[in-house]
Amino acid sequence: MPFTHRRRAFALPALIAVSALGLAACSSGSTPDESTSSGGETTDAMEPVELSFLVDNNETSVGVVTALTDAYTAAHPNVTFAIEERPGGGEGDNIVKTRLQTGEMTDLFFYNSGSLFQALAPTRTLLPIDDIANAGAIQDTFKAGVSADGTLYGVPAGTAMGGGVMYNIPLYEELGLDVPTSWDDFMANNQAILDSGKAAPVIQTFKDTWTSQLFVLGDFANVLAADSEWANKYTANEVKYADGAPAIDGFVHQQEVFEAGYLNKDFASATFVDGVRMVAQGEGAHYPMLSFALAEVIANSPDNVGDVGFFALPGDSADSPLTTWLAAGIYAPADTEHADVVKDFMSYVATPEACDVQTAAVGAQGPYFVDGCTLPDDVPQMVADMLPYFEANNTQPALEFLSPIKGPALEQITVEVGSGIRSAEDGAALYDEDVKKQAQQLGLEGW
């Protein structure tokens, strides 16, 4: 029966090929575990180590990370870094989460602190770093934003940020305007700018949807000023944005600005880079933004750095406080192969020397979170405008550092409110619904 033999002869290699496929899948899946067990041994010997480093493609983030890694390599020539860039926003969150959960994360990565950090399930995915030498030098405010269950996971990269309004100083001087401290003053200034016909009063850039959230997120200091317990009640599902003032004010203000016709005409298609250029070069007067946009000004409009000032997003009462963001953190995945080198690098990041390296690279952008760090005397105008808020203690943390709940659809909702597609009330109510999913996903009480 030569016939049967040949059939078998043909089927067997096929079967082997299939099982080989299966084996291959298994072996690639188990690699990280094997390497973890042998991790750390390479460090004592001065063998060359290359650490991979994932960072978002923002100008400041890349600048900070490049400067820190270069400085570290200069002091430790055996350690080099391979920096990998990723997109920011929701797309970047997705990349970070997926890579952490599949064990494909780089040895070090740069990521937000606060609620976004909590969403990474740090106790399961990240390397605890309580034992690094300089852990004590990191300020407690920051530690709170990068700790889970009392364990520290990150070191601060960059500085505190403010969420407020960037404004064009020459335009203000020309029209004789004063920096507004209340919403009514702000709207009066907008009207004056509109009447002068010199520039768009308020810049919005909805092509980069995340930029639309500042009216709501940056207004949070005003919410806290009116009700200091708001964040806790919010986490406990006792208050909602749609309940009305003070929380809904951010949405309402955004709607008012649109309805008054204060926006730049290309608000729907402009990008963050466009927005920064417009406020720096006087095409627009106000741009609600995080202060880290300073790096963008320095990179793309270096001649106009002195023309851009900064003030807190005004609320209904005068003397509005500034909403502040913690610096981003540098973290390592729990399964890194080079835990010791990684920890040594992180310890280095928490030194005054590392702060100076960052200042030299991207400029002084705000106060650092490491003890002993100082700012140079001649800081850019935006930072000089921001420091008095810190000195007078007239700041409040953003909601994402007080509550783990942040709904993913806020940027779409604020785009809708900001371009007249949806009313402020509807937008706030819709966001409350969006937030519910996040709270349930986190397993919070009372939702």
């Binding site: 299939v18 969150d93 959960q101 909805f206 290309d266 298609s269 779409q412 809708e416 999913k437």
Partner: protein, 313 residues
């Protein structure tokens, strides 16, 4: 693997069943010369990579899932999906997008095919031009068109401005964004529809046209009474393919609008992706199940209906 199995028949194979038939003539059916376990490799791959994940996703759609652990919550994800206004709107948008693109591809594809099979100059060149967009990467098409459709610097509005048309927010006007993307999808997918139709037109025997001509039918009557009825199989294929493509479309929408402005051009696939980005794996999976059911609920009856008529004819 599949290829190996297909190429496999040894030279003697055809003879074997015949011999067996001759000997045991009482057996009503010839046994397949191949043992069942030849299916095993394909079955394993199909089972592991398709069936298992599909059924797992049915389960996970009923949970609140964080990759590490999942909590069974019954149909709550589906309730959320249908109660949140923008999630439900995405369903409407999906249907609209699929019907518009599929309809246009059928109508335009048919016209192009008739045109490109007639006696015209540079026919081969024109056929390639129509087919060319199919070969370009969707993301490339999306990026290119979002530049062309920029309300202020885009080529389309600059050209329209010459004729005196005001700036149109192709992708920034919430009422227009979905249609702009649909238009680009038609531009991109039309070549394939035309190709299928050309094959259909070419397959029609010339005798029918000659007979029609003898009976005094003009060009339109020939199209209406000969070409169109005989194109039903091609039409079925185009409708089914483009409808499935339209219902599942994601890449073009994501590169052009990301579902925006706001939620105005969100479709099921982009919503599912966003929920996944947000870490709502259970809800995202529920959205996928909804998508699966919607596609099945539309395509299976449609397929049955279109094919039945084909048999009746």
């Amino acid at each position: 693997m599949t290829q190996q199995t297909l190429q496999q028949p040894p030279p003697e194979a055809p003879q074997a069943p015949r011999g067996r038939e001759a000997r045991g003539a009482r057996k009503p059916r010839t046994r397949s010369p191949y043992p069942m376990w030849f299916y095993l490799p394909a079955a394993i791959i199909y089972g592991v990579l398709f069936v298992a994940p599909t059924f797992a996703s049915f389960y996970f759609s009923l949970t609140r899932w964080t990759i590490f652990d999942s909590e069974f919550i019954g149909l709550e994800n589906f309730v959320t999906f249908f109660s949140e206004p923008y999630l439900f709107d995405s369903l409407v948008n999906t249907l609209m997008f699929a019907v518009i693109t599929s309809g246009l591809k059928v109508v335009l594809g048919l016209l192009f095919a008739v045109f490109l099979t007639s006696q015209i100059k540079a026919r081969g060149y024109l056929r390639s031009v129509v087919f060319f967009p199919v070969l370009v990467s969707t993301v490339g098409v999306g990026v290119t068109f979002s530049v062309l459709m920029d309300p202020f610097d885009g080529l389309i509005n600059k050209v329209l401005a010459v004729v005196g048309v005001d700036e149109i927010g192709w992708l920034t006007d919430p009422n227009l964004a979905l249609f702009s993307v649909a238009f680009v999808d038609v531009w991109r997918g039309l070549g394939l529809a035309t190709l299928i139709y050309i094959a259909g037109v070419v397959a029609i025997p010339q005798e029918y046209f000659e007979a029609a001509k003898v009976d005094g039918a003009n060009a339109f009557k020939q199209f209406w009474h000969v070409t169109l009825p005989l194109m039903r199989p091609a039409t079925t294929t185009v409708i089914i393919l483009s409808l499935i493509g339209g219902l599942r479309s994601f890449d073009l929408i994501w590169t052009m609008t990301k579902g925006g402005p706001g939620f105005s051009s969100d479709v099921l696939a982009s919503v599912v992706y966003k929920q996944y980005q947000a870490g709502f794996y259970g809800l995202s999976t529920a959205g996928n199940v909804v998508l699966f059911l919607v596609v099945a609920a539309i395509i299976i009856p449609l397929f049955w209906l279109l094919n039945r008529k084909e048999v009746d004819r």
